[in-house]
Symmetry: C3
Subunit: 169 residues, 3 copies
């Protein structure tokens, strides 16, 4: 019984962890951002190695690149937690990451975080994160890992509809 309750409270703690990442990144509070990760974390944003980092020191140094943006806003949702024992969990979440350049042009990412989080003596931390993207607007051109989307089966034909195809959800 106690364990069941702990599990529920852990869910909120893990969701808070992901939220603090967003808050710390949008406020560029790098000390707070550091507190989200394990010392030996591994974070991968895309196939280009300069987008990836191993160890929290390298990660925080890498994320300082966000000062290139004038402002950012990371809206996290769809948080789905699957526990792997009492002290670890796999977490999938979605993010709308809005970025504004100094010239006021913007870039918006429709992303997916795939995280492993672990319970440490200091609380839950992200130990590995892989960022994927479902898509992005035309202003965003970073080489984030594309999320997997299954192709239609061979021979698939769009169902007949009245009116233009673009009028379907």
């Amino acid at each position: 019984m106690t364990e069941a309750v702990a599990g529920v409270e852990d869910r909120w703690a893990i969701a808070d962890l992901l939220n603090v990442y967003c808050e710390a990144l949008d406020s560029m509070d790098l000390d707070r951002l550091r507190s989200v990760f394990t010392a030996d974390c591994a974070v991968a944003f895309g196939p280009n190695e300069r987008l990836n980092a191993e160890g929290v020191d390298r990660l925080i140094a890498a994320l300082s690149r966000l000062w290139r943006w004038r402002r950012t806003s990371h809206h996290l949702s769809n948080v789905r937690i699957v526990f792997d024992g009492a002290n670890a969990a796999e977490v999938v979440s979605y993010v709308i990451a809005w970025h504004e350049r100094p010239d006021r042009s913007t870039a918006t990412l429709y992303g997916v975080y795939r995280d492993r989080v672990v319970r440490t003596s200091l609380g839950w931390r992200i130990s590995t994160r892989r960022q994927e993207m479902n898509g992005a607007d035309a202003g965003f051109s970073v080489g984030i890992f594309p999320a997997t989307r299954r192709p239609p089966p061979a021979g698939w034909v769009a169902p007949h509809i009245d009116g233009p195809a673009t009028r379907q959800p």
Copy 2:
């Protein structure tokens, strides 16, 4: 006491259910998408009957139309669950549904899901879903049910403000 804890864990299970819908739709994993619904589900997207489906077989066949899009991303938030006994609940949630066409043009829906979910032997499932929309961008032209918005009372006059009206939130 046990029931209270069950209720809290059920909330996470129901939120996960809605999240899996988004993940399965964005990855076009139709088998996984099927697992979200009851066999006799009824789903309505709009007044045009071709947007609606009864029974999970027809629903999944209908949702295969999303292959017309090149990519999609469904960002779910504002999940509010009202239990109706221990084995059913009414759920309201919001979605930002981003769609990209093969020509890279996009369509974004600001939608609301109104669901009834039920506990089955396999876990929580959506038994009925009605999609409404608060709005959409100019690229989106599907006839989704409009959400209800109350008109101002007769004789309502916008309060006097200094500066243009568009500068008010």
Copy 3:
């Protein structure tokens, strides 16, 4: 033990409170909107005093200004609750607030709510709210409080990268 469970259920009740704000605002159900706040609430949107209100009567009168918009959609996420005793909490949340004018032009805010909520005999209520913004699109021009973003340290130099700066996340 009972307290721990109550805490978890309170988290959902507080999240629901913030969700009802969005639902009531988007449907312009001002009676329902009123139910979200304490009678003596204080809400501040920006440095211009006409954007702020003390007391629920003035607040609801002020929020009637949203009828100037044709439609709105408030997508709430990143809800992080820190309890201050059993009967109060500080809550940070993010909002993507989409607004459409009668001429169909739109304005989107990437906002942050900083709330204090309190437990009353009628349930949880917002007693103070401060809205900040991480950013907004070009269509939005209201003077919302800017969120704090730390500047780079003196002498900060963007790390050398291959390719244009805008290709970094």
